[in-house]
């Protein structure tokens, strides 16, 4: 994939995903609680409770859990969009106090800006994030070409000049993924990015994401309801409980890399998925 290779960024972290040696973790949650406002906090209604986890540099983690359990909330904590009510969130060793730089995020809803065309929506991070911001004028053509290439990768060639409301739901979601990727972030957060896609398109995009990650080894946090997706892509899968969200289970996926789509039809893969499914089903009974 030419777009993928073109995106290999000089400063990408070199650590490999599977190294679990005592490096400082890239993302660290230390007993984090969040209530959406003071009043809810007083009433003890938390959206996530007592979440602790460590993500190594370059690790790909997936989060699964029932609807409304606090997955999106977790994402907001990890990017600093919401401050923790209690506990500490650290990213790259520093305490998170506000939104981070160099994050790419695809929200659960596509949230494309309705006054921008698809292309301009995808270009948005380049207008904000350095070093693109200051070189945008000089290298506009190059960046536009990159955005077009990325859109082509997700099957949106020919829709660059359409407005968001002229796209189907799944197309909007794909454009939103492009927007999260375009500036080659060090940390990529994807909140159910493939939820509105058919199985085939979805699997294609799995491969796109896998290749990008394989080449650049950024950190990924993926929220998904599709256990096959989680197992295929992630190094580690976290399972969250019903609301208020706690982390119930951490499952390392030790399938070899690089992984191929055919892997999903193999026995070990199916077993991992099944095991996760069982666990979640079991947890739900309580």
């Amino acid at each position: 994939m030419s777009a993928t290779s073109a995106m290999l960024r000089a400063g990408a972290p070199a650590a490999t995903a599977t190294s679990t040696v005592a490096t400082t973790p890239f993302v660290e949650f230390n007993r984090v609680w969040l209530a959406y406002n003071d009043e809810l906090a007083h009433r003890g209604e938390f959206a996530v409770e007592d979440v602790s986890l460590r993500v190594e540099p370059g690790e790909f983690i997936a989060i699964v859990g029932p609807s409304g359990c606090g997955k999106s909330t977790f994402m907001k904590l990890a990017t600093g969009l919401r401050p923790a009510t209690r506990g500490v969130v650290k990213v790259a060793g520093e305490k998170v106090t506000g939104p981070l730089q160099q994050v790419g995020m695809a929200f659960q809803a596509p949230t494309l800006l309705p006054w921008r065309t698809t292309l301009d929506n995808v270009m948005l991070p380049l207008e904000i994030v350095e070093p693109y911001r200051s070189t945008l004028r000089a290298r506009r053509d190059e960046y536009v070409a990159r955005a077009r290439e990325l859109l082509r990768t997700v099957g949106l060639a020919g829709y660059e000049d359409k407005y968001p409301w002229q796209l189907s739901g799944g197309m909007q979601q794909r454009a939103s993924i492009c927007r999260a990727l375009i500036h080659q972030p060090r940390m990529l957060l994807l909140d159910e990015p493939f939820g509105a896609l058919d199985a085939f398109t979805r699997e294609e995009l799995w491969c796109v994401l896998r290749d990008l990650w394989q080449a650049q080894r950024f950190n990924v946090i993926l929220v998904t309801h599709d256990l096959r997706e989680a197992v295929f892509l992630a190094d580690t899968v976290y399972v969250m409980s019903q609301r208020p969200g706690r982390i119930l289970l951490r499952k390392e996926i030790d399938l070899p890399r690089p992984r191929d789509l055919d892997l999903t039809y193999t026995e070990p893969f199916a077993e991992l998925v099944h095991a996760l499914r069982e666990k979640i089903g079991h947890v739900r009974q309580h």
Binding site: T79, L81, P99, Q102, L113, W115, L124, P125, E127, I128
Partner: protein
């Protein structure tokens, strides 16, 4: 309507204001004839047209003066209104502190300030430009501030998550989202700007449609005075058309009903 093509609909919409205008004029003229309304109360369209024709050059001179004065004041109002709106819309403290006072100030008839402006700036365009500005920046400010204050946090988050600075969020999301509000306010503000200029000219000027109004009024030439009003109305209508075109271009995304 159901059976019209969109091209036909567009044509109907183009002529509609003219038809309505014609209807209003016919009604007005009819009422003047039927109720025998005298010229010194409400001149008929016919006598206004006569006056327009007769004093064409005089009116033209005054109108030009009023036009550019208004434009100057209006440009100032856009600048200041947008900036104040941005400040008010993005800072809760500025909103809480400034809004009540601004409202209070704007409830005062600007005519009361014209004498003060004249004393400071002398007779001439100064007071007229300033009055036009003072009267018309408020709606712009209010609408921009409201547009920003009602911005969906989800859209804001799209930029915040990139580590965007406040200014970026304002310019990339806040302002575009506030554009429909802005254009609504422009339509109100331009009418007020014309009122402001005219009022100022009525109070202190030797030129402009406002001067024409009082001097024609005091000479009991009501048709001429109303011809002056007609000219203002036409100028306002032209500006409206300009804004309509701009609005269509810039906020087409919001008008897709």
């Amino acid at each position: 309507m159901m059976t019209m093509t969109s091209a036909q609909q567009r044509r109907v919409q183009r002529v509609a204001p003219w038809i309505l205008l014609g209807a209003v004029l016919v009604l007005w003229q009819g009422a003047c004839l039927v109720f025998d309304v005298s010229d010194f109360i409400l001149p008929s369209p016919a006598s206004i047209a006569t006056a327009l024709f007769q004093y064409w050059d005089v009116i033209g001179g005054h109108a030009w003066r009023t036009f550019w004065t208004t434009m100057a004041g209006f440009a100032l109002a856009i600048g200041v209104g947008v900036v104040l709106g941005l400040v008010m819309g993005s800072s809760r403290l500025a909103y809480a502190a400034g809004y009540p006072l601004m409202t209070a100030f704007n409830a005062l008839p600007k005519a009361a300030f014209v004498p003060i402006l004249v004393v400071w700036f002398g007779l001439g365009v100064g007071p007229a430009i300033l009055t036009a500005f003072l009267i018309s920046f408020f709606p712009i400010m209010v609408n921009i501030a409201t547009g920003l204050a009602t911005l969906e946090p989800e859209l804001e988050d799209v930029l915040r998550v990139l580590g965007a600075k406040r200014r970026d969020v304002l310019f990339k999301v806040g302002l575009p989202r506030a554009m429909p509000f802005f254009f609504a306010s422009l339509k109100v503000a331009i009418t007020l700007a014309f009122v402001g200029t005219t009022v100022s000219e009525m109070n202190a000027a030797n030129e402009g449609v406002g001067y024409l109004l009082v001097s024609a009024g005091s000479a009991m030439k009501m048709p001429l005075a109303f011809a002056g009003l007609v000219v203002i109305a036409v100028m306002a209508m032209l500006m409206y058309e300009l804004f309509a075109v701009l609005e269509k271009r810039m906020t087409g995304w919001a008008h897709r009903g």
